[in-house]
Symmetry: C2
Subunit: 219 residues, 2 copies
DNA sequence: CGTGACATTATGTCTAGACATAATAATCGA
DNA sequence: TCGATTATTATGTCTAGACATAATGTCACG
């Protein structure tokens, strides 16, 4: 274990055990460096990591303080459906239902199958201006999400998760009773401020859930 | 903008624009330092940040490479309900329904009101061994989540999000029709491996959703 | 032809010191 | 006493160099 990681672990332990409480002042970097017998840059690295993890607040001149319990945030796993389904031991299959071009937008709908049951109904809009290659793709055999993942560099994304009862059409496509509770995942992605795609996935509530983890000290 | 942030932004821009594609090799730290006219430690700091953000992979001797498009993950906001409701311009109120002690576990149920409508039904279990102070608290006026936030140091947490139709009891408590789609948030928290609390919140699907963001370069 | 020893290389970590910056504390003048 | 200026202090960033570490490529030897 590296030196800075050890310093970091020591302080983190004090915080998580309650020995240091929110608002408490930590020793200055100089003092910590002297205590641990290392250079200030090493302490600084450890403190920067703690700050990044949200465990401490830092104010020039004032010093470093244990942060208040913050708004809960967690890392949400948004799995690739094909991976998820195969991890569950089933066969994944994509079935395209429709593909329409409407000016600068390409609309694709389809079903994600887990074995023989339809798990999710997807309706997607792709911005042709940002992804011109999509015009040449039928999305007949490959799901647009998978295709886009391989064709478009990094994006930022906004997700919205809701619960709604299935509409008549959705229920029919998924083979469930109308108004059954479904988990809706809506995702919009951008590539450097240019819109890439917007997708709405309707999941059968009885077959799917999402998981999120919160760790103050990831990695 | 600091030097290392500028170097980082330059490389990140190349990646996001597609000039550098997944798998491409980046110049070595020495080369980048020479190019930018700075010390290697500064480049190293920028590269460490890019690595932390998941944009690049680093291998000793081999070099640094643009990372493959990874599994989607996003930062999920798990809001404090009181804050959320007040931000929406309504009055928040907690109404405790029950409180029972069962050996080492304390069970509390109650309703989170947004104005006059019940937004969520909460059933919570608190581990008395980890949080002995909870025994002296009635949770009559203060929601257990709020109380715990103020009394327990950092925790790790696991969240599960599902959609289910409301049961008869849930529907009655929330004042909705049975089987209406609801968003279920289940959260378990630990304090250094000791269980703290497990909570199940049933939200009216028509009044609540969750939001998650994904940014390759947070902060 | 395969294998183990060795040199090479790029990252990982660290040092001792420097200057910049922001915020607080102290001081001085009106 | 109030307010503006100045000094102090802790963090923020950076440098130039050092050694550690891990992985790769090379090369001689069997």
């Amino acid at each position: 274990m590296s030196f800075d990681a050890r310093i970091r672990a020591a302080i983190e332990g004090d915080i998580r055990s309650g020995a240091l409480r929110p608002g408490d002042k930590l020793p200055s970097e100089h003092e910590l460096a002297a205590q641990h017998g290392c250079a200030r840059a090493t302490v600084s690295k450890a403190m920067a990591a703690l700050h990044h993890a949200g465990l401490i607040e830092r104010r020039r001149k004032a010093g470093s303080f244990v942060a208040d319990q913050h708004v809960h945030s967690a890392v949400l796993e948004v799995p690739d459906l094909a991976q998820l389904i195969e991890a569950r031991g089933h066969v994944y299959r994509w079935q395209r239902l429709s593909r329409e071009q409407d000016g600068a937008e390409l609309h694709v709908t389809g079903l994600h199958y887990e074995g023989d049951t339809a798990l999710a109904l997807e309706s997607r809009t792709i911005a042709v201006a940002t992804v011109p290659d999509a015009m040449d793709e039928s999305f007949d055999a490959i799901a647009p999400g998978t295709w886009l993942l391989a064709h478009i560099p990094w994006t930022s994304a906004r997700h919205r998760i809701r619960a709604v009862g299935a509409s008549a059409e959705e229920a029919q496509a998924l083979g469930i009773v109308e108004n059954t509770a479904c988990l809706i995942l809506e995702r919009s992605t951008w590539r450097a401020d240019a819109p890439v795609t917007t997708v709405r996935q309707v999941f059968r509530g009885d077959l799917f859930d999402m998981v999120a983890h919160f760790e103050p000290s990831p990695r």
